[in-house]
């Protein structure tokens, strides 16, 4: 095993992390040492389990030797994928047209391959008359110039036609729904500017079925690329630019998207959920996003909110209506209602929430969320996870 380099170690990032002096994400600190800290009895999770039944990674096995502690492959915790991410399973007209183009290309290219192989077979051991017919410049001129020119021109014309057909004409007065998606290492900020200031979420893109949507994509750090294969091809998110893509979901469903431009250590775990739903359900969801979160209903929830503040979570995260407004990390206003955590890393439930807070660096090493297993007592961890899960 190697040490994990650069954990949270980009100067910019560590400057904004709370508990900088004590917490694990320090540049160049070996994995072993960090997890050893995380699992130390003073701040570890008693019993190694958090409510919800999920083991907090790296936590709770304080009696074991450090070497065996970090040997648990954290990726075993990864959520199994739900929601399609296939270009062959289109949920919208754009992806459907591209899929058709793909099938045509497969057919044509398959036929050309068969033709070339067939001619090669004839050239090798075919009947003498056929071979004689092939053995001349005419073969080169016909097969090597005339045929590809014609075939490619036809394909190109068709391809350009499909390209144009991907931007659907708008009815008079129809405005597409604008959604801003900002790629960040390694998560997605999603904003609905048409719905006002507060309509912000993260790592989840909800859109109404049947309505034209225009994605305005940009980046907060490095180049990312947003890809929802069931809806459309990908479009890059480039610092200093805003790229736009029009798409439409035609069927409700849960889809998956992922970053496709290599963006650093955790490029692999930068996915998001896409939920296409009926317009009414979508509007209801959007309205709920805008609203301030309710006051904690129970003392336990109140304690969770208090821990959230004391632990400094608000230095990076926003929760609407609380005064925590930072944009450095995902907006948590309705995090309890999201399908996954950690940009598609874990299926969302209370146990996963506690596990993520305790061991984000073990689940997704190198992301900018510190592991709080040591900083938070077990009860506090449970409380803050409970409060966040209540934000629905």
């Amino acid at each position: 095993m190697r040490t994990v380099r650069d954990i949270g170690g980009k100067g910019r990032a560590s400057a904004r992390l709370p508990f900088r002096g004590r917490l694990s994400p320090r540049r160049g600190l070996p994995f072993r040492e960090r997890v050893g800290e995380a699992a130390s009895p003073s701040g570890g999770l008693r019993g190694g389990r958090v409510p919800g039944g999920r083991r907090a990674p790296g936590g709770g096995r304080g009696d074991e030797a450090p070497a065996s502690r970090w040997a648990v492959p954290p990726l075993l915790l990864l959520a199994a994928c739900e929601g399609t991410q296939s270009a062959f399973a289109p949920h919208g007209i754009q992806a459907e047209r591209i899929a058709t183009l793909g099938w045509v290309l497969f057919a044509v290219c398959g036929a050309v391959l068969a033709l070339v192989l067939g001619l090669a077979a004839i050239a090798l051991r075919g009947p003498g008359r056929w071979r004689a017919a092939l053995a001349g410049r005419r073969t080169v001129l016909l097969g090597g110039i005339a045929f590809p020119v014609v075939a490619l021109a036809l394909l190109l014309a068709y391809g350009l036609g499909v390209s144009r057909a991907l931007v659907l004409p708008l009815a008079p007065g129809e405005a597409p729904l604008r959604i801003e998606v900002i790629g960040r290492q390694y998560w997605w900020e999603v904003r609905y500017p048409d719905a006002g200031e507060g309509a912000v979420t993260a790592n989840e893109l909800r859109l109404p079925v049947g309505r034209e949507v225009e994605l305005h994509v940009s980046s907060g750090d490095v180049i990312h690329s947003i890809w929802i294969p069931a809806l459309h091809g990908k479009i890059d998110m480039i610092p200093g630019r805003v790229n736009r893509q029009r798409l439409r979901a035609d069927r409700p469903g849960r889809l998956r998207g992922q970053c496709t431009e290599f963006c650093g250590t955790q490029h692999a775990l930068m996915a998001f959920d896409v939920v296409a739903e009926e317009p009414a359900a979508f509007e209801a969801w959007l309205a709920r996003q805008r609203a301030a979160v309710p006051e904690p209903a129970t003392p336990a929830l109140a304690r969770g909110r208090q821990v959230f503040g004391e632990a400094g979570c608000g230095a990076c995260h926003a929760v609407r209506g609380t005064g925590w407004n930072a944009r450095l990390a995902p907006d948590l206003s309705r995090v309890g209602s999201r399908l996954t955590l950690g940009a598609g890393a874990l299926a969302n439930d209370r146990g996963a929430m506690a596990g993520w807070i305790a061991g984000a660096q073990d689940i997704k090493p190198g992301n900018f969320m510190p592991s709080y297993a040591r900083a938070l007592a077990g009860a506090d961890l449970v409380a803050v996870a409970g409060w966040l899960e209540s934000l629905r």
Binding site: R2, T3, R5, D6, K10, R12, F31, P73, L75, L78, A79, E82, T84, Q85, S86, A87, F88, R97, I98, G102, L105, F106, C109, V116, L117, L119, I122, L124, A133, A135, G136, R137, T139, V140, G143, G144, I145, P148, L152, L156, G159, L160, V162, D221, V222, I223, S225, P229, G233, K234, I238, P239, R244, R256, T260, E261, F262, C263, P365, G366
Partner: protein, 867 residues
């Protein structure tokens, strides 16, 4: 149509060829008999062997001959193929199941970055370059390439630099931003470690080595051929290498510029790629892919050239459509430079531009298709010996490359590419193209040409290797077409279960292991059967000159050739050549000589002296490598010392090893032809080398000028130059322009030549005056910009201005060194009316510097005025 019959000696006799009698030969070639009478005087062959003998023992490291450096070069490239292949296997083992924890994310990112980088820069390009260095002299019928010392320098720099670069992986210091290194991920802010510097400096310097090799090959192919080998008779592989070399000269500068700019941003804060200071991350992508797309064809074309040699030989019939294939090679080169946006379809480029690039991307399929049909027609005309290992690799190539080419047509279609881009579909496509288009021909070529350099390899092991590699390739990469389109992006260290990716990934890993086994069989075959010698004979009955017997000196005597397959015309040629019946059968000066011929008609021009063993180039190569690697570690003082040592070693090698002047005066090479042993001006090979170097130089300048214009386009009106900045008064540019032109003018006016009066002082004065004028013009340009308040670290405008000026400054510094060197040569009496190659080259370089200075001033001063 040709028959497949062979004559008594086992040589094929194509139907089109006249009977192989002396009279028939004379009728076709105009040579009545061998130009040098037989038998040859005793001792002639021994003297030749003495002149070309290798130093003994460990001193052999000072040898520069292509028969030693070529195989070493190829062996090193194949070593990197194995090393990067092991990294590929690691990638496949990590991805064999979802959520695997064999490699952690950070290590995985280094591994995939190094796999791509090493395969592209340390294996593919050097490997084809090495095959060129091995085969070119014998295939062209010359003793040696014109600059063997430069070739050896390129080799040592590459070998040492490459091994250290690879070693960075074991220190965790290997690059981890992908072989494409996109900023801002690779900026100081997001990648603060030295990993990125390792790439920028390490690879940048290995590219310089590639350019050195390309200069050597270009000039060699143009100026060192057997008499009578006109452009129309050059073997296809030599054409392919010529196109390869020119493409390297034009394309590699783009990535060198990109690396330099990024390193300047990282080290000094010049904001080329930072949008908040007028830069643009897309600038990198344009520069990188302007190199990166031609790179694919740089790798593929020589391999296609190998196929065009193997198919006729293994089918025993001339290549059908020879001229068309040459046109296809050249056409591919041109088209490939119009394709770079192919890699940037998803960056938000306007639809109209995308249509243009989609058309260009489709068009480039035509020359490849043309070659495929030329091979098919040739196969039909002859009869391929199916059981031979080279034939198997050719057929495997045909299948894999055609499939890869067709998926290339698919991704040329913009909307399809939006789905396929940066997914495993592309991984499948590029491996089909590169393994099919490069590795298979290369391995086939190894089995095919091994007899010319070290005995035949095992047929049995070769067949095993072929089938393992062929099945492995298809099993590993075919399922990736599927895994990509069902949602697997590239460069991910893990993927979730439940997306349907488990089976395709398992198959891919099995296929990769199968491929690895095939590579191991090839390695075993080499270890068991490869012994450097020329004892392998000519087992395939091929028609081209590399199958003539010879030694370190290439051919004992150099024949005049009259067709594309001289050995098929004249089966006695081998014996005539070996007994010394043809041109230049010995050594006239006692030194290593080669015949220099004219570029188009290949008429003999003069007998050139080529370099023998020495240490200066070894020291220079090691010091160059040390300079760049120390720079990576920010050890500036040792790095500077190494750089000075490198330059000193080069000056030593130039002083003692070049521009020797006339030695014996005139040499009779046979057949009544008497040639000088020294010529200056455009017939001299080093004049050609300087011109070819200027092509690479101009490409760098064009990339920098392109950077300026691109950033102007990106910045909205009124922001270039940024508000508040008034460009300097144009009069300063006019003044510096006078300086640039004056420097070139005095060097031209005072050039030495026969019958010029005044002795050596006019040209010495001119050299010093040119030095003063160049330095003055540069200072004026720098001062004018600085005075106007332009600063390199404030805005991309200033950064670009100073990048152009820095490039010009580098030229002035080099010119200064050359001018002083030339003055020194003159002071010791080594420059006169006849012996003036050094002066010519210095003047040529200063003339280029002047032209670049004027062009730069016109851009920097004229453009803001036009706006």
């Amino acid at each position: 149509m040709s028959s497949a019959s062979t004559d008594a000696a086992g040589f094929p006799r194509p139907g089109a060829a006249a009977p192989a009698t002396a009279a028939g030969h004379a009728a076709r070639t105009g040579i009545a008999d061998t130009p040098n009478p037989l038998p040859r005087p005793p001792g002639e062959a021994e003297a030749l062997a003495r002149a070309w003998a290798f130093p003994r023992g460990w001193r052999v490291l000072s040898e520069v001959n292509n028969t030693l450096i070529g195989p070493l070069f190829l062996g090193t490239a194949l070593l990197f193929f194995l090393l990067a292949g092991v990294l590929g296997l690691l990638i496949r083992l990590q991805l064999v199941v979802p959520g695997n924890a064999l490699l952690d994310a950070a290590t995985y990112n280094q591994v995939f970055t190094m796999h791509g980088t090493v395969m592209m820069f340390l294996f593919a390009v050097p490997a084809v370059e090495a095959v060129g260095i091995i085969l070119m002299p014998s295939m062209l019928g010359t003793r040696e390439l014109p600059f063997p010392r430069l070739g050896a320098y390129a080799y040592y720099a590459y070998a040492v630099g490459g091994l250290v670069f690879f070693g960075s992986l074991f220190l965790g210091a290997a690059p981890d931003g992908g072989w494409f290194m996109y900023p801002p991920l690779t900026s100081r802010e997001h990648s603060p470690g030295i990993n990125t510097d390792m790439y920028l400096l390490g690879i940048g310097f290995i590219e310089i080595s590639a350019i050195a090799g390309a200069i050597e090959l270009t000039v060699g192919i143009l100026c060192n051929r057997a008499p009578g080998m006109t452009l129309g008779r050059i073997p296809i592989f030599a054409w392919a290498m010529l196109v390869f070399a020119v493409m390297v000269l034009v394309a590699f500068p783009a990535v060198i510029v990109a690396s330099l700019l990024l390193e300047l941003e990282r080290a000094l804060g010049w904001p080329f790629f930072r949008p908040e200071a007028g830069g643009d991350p897309l600038l990198w992508q344009h520069l990188f892919w302007f190199f990166g797309h031609p790179e694919v064809y740089i790798i593929f074309l020589p391999a296609a050239g190998m196929v065009s040699m193997m198919v006729p030989a293994m089918a025993r019939t001339p290549l059908v459509g020879h001229g068309l294939v040459v046109v296809a090679l050249v056409g591919t080169a041109f088209l490939s430079f119009g394709l770079w946006v192919h890699h940037m379809y998803a960056t938000g480029i306007p639809a109209l531009s995308l249509s243009f690039f989609a058309a260009a991307g489709s068009a480039v399929a035509i020359p490849s298709g043309l070659q495929i049909f030329a091979w098919i027609a040739t196969l039909a005309a002859g009869r391929l010996r199916l059981n031979e290992v080279p034939s198997l690799f050719v057929l495997g190539f045909l299948f894999i490359f055609t499939l890869g080419g067709l998926t290339g047509v698919m991704v040329a279609m913009t909307p399809f590419d939006w789905q396929a881009h940066d997914t495993y579909f592309i991984v499948a496509h590029l491996h089909y193209v590169l393994i099919g288009g490069m590795v298979f021909p290369l391995l086939g070529g190894l089995y095919y040409w091994a007899p010319t350099m070290g005995g035949r390899l095992s047929d049995r092991l070769g067949r095993w290797a072929f089938w393992l590699l062929f099945l492995g390739t298809n099993l590993a990469f075919f399922p990736m077409h599927l895994s990509g389109l069902i949602g697997m992006p590239r460069r991910i260290y893990t993927y979730p279960a439940g997306m349907g990716l488990e089976l395709p990934n398992l198959l891919s890993t099995l296929g990769a292991l199968c491929f690895g086994a095939g590579a191991a069989v090839v390695l075993a075959d080499f270890v068991l059967h490869y012994r450097p010698s020329r004892a392998g004979g000519s087992p395939w009955g091929a028609g081209t000159l590399e199958w003539l017997p010879g030694g370190n000196w290439g051919l004992r005597s150099i024949p005049r050739i009259a067709s594309r397959y001289p050995l098929w015309d004249r089966p006695a040629l081998a014996e005539e050549v070996e007994t010394g019946g043809h041109y230049l059968p010995g050594t006239a000066t006692g030194r290593r000589e080669s015949l220099v011929t004219s570029p188009t008609e290949a008429e003999p021009q003069y007998v050139g002296i080529v370099a023998g063993p020495g240490w200066a180039h070894v020291v220079a190569a090691l010091a160059t490598a040390a300079h760049f690697l120390l720079l990576t570690g920010s050890l500036y003082i040792p790095s500077l010392a190494a750089g000075v040592l490198a330059v000193a070693a080069m000056l030593w090698w130039l002083w003692h090893g070049t521009d020797h002047g006339p030695i014996v005066g005139r040499i009779a090479i046979g057949g009544g032809i008497v040639l000088p042993d020294y010529l200056s001006g455009p017939r001299n090979t080093s004049w050609w080398a300087m011109v070819v170097l200027m092509l690479a130089d101009a490409s760098v300048f064009a990339c920098l000028a392109g950077t300026y214009l691109f950033l102007w386009l990106v910045n909205a009106a009124g922001l270039w130059p940024p508000p508040g900045l008034v460009p300097p008064w144009a009069g300063w540019a006019a003044l510096s322009g006078l300086g640039w032109l004056g420097a070139a003018g005095v060097l031209w006016a005072a050039r030495p030549g026969p019958g010029r009066r005044g002795g050596p002082w006019p040209h010495r004065a001119a050299l010093l005056a040119a030095l003063a004028l160049l330095a003055g013009a540069l200072c004026l340009d720098l001062w004018a910009q600085w005075r106007a308040g332009v600063r390199p670290d404030a805005h991309a405008y200033g950064a670009t201005v100073f990048a152009l000026l820095a490039w010009q400054g580098f030229h002035v510094a080099t010119a200064a060194l050359m001018l002083l060197y030339t003055v020194a040569r003159s002071l010791v009496g080594r420059i006169d009316g006849v012996r003036r190659v050094t002066y010519d080259n210095t003047a040529l370089f200063c003339g280029y510097t002047a032209a670049q200075g004027v062009a730069g001033a016109a851009l920097l001063h004229g453009f803001p005025v036009l706006l």
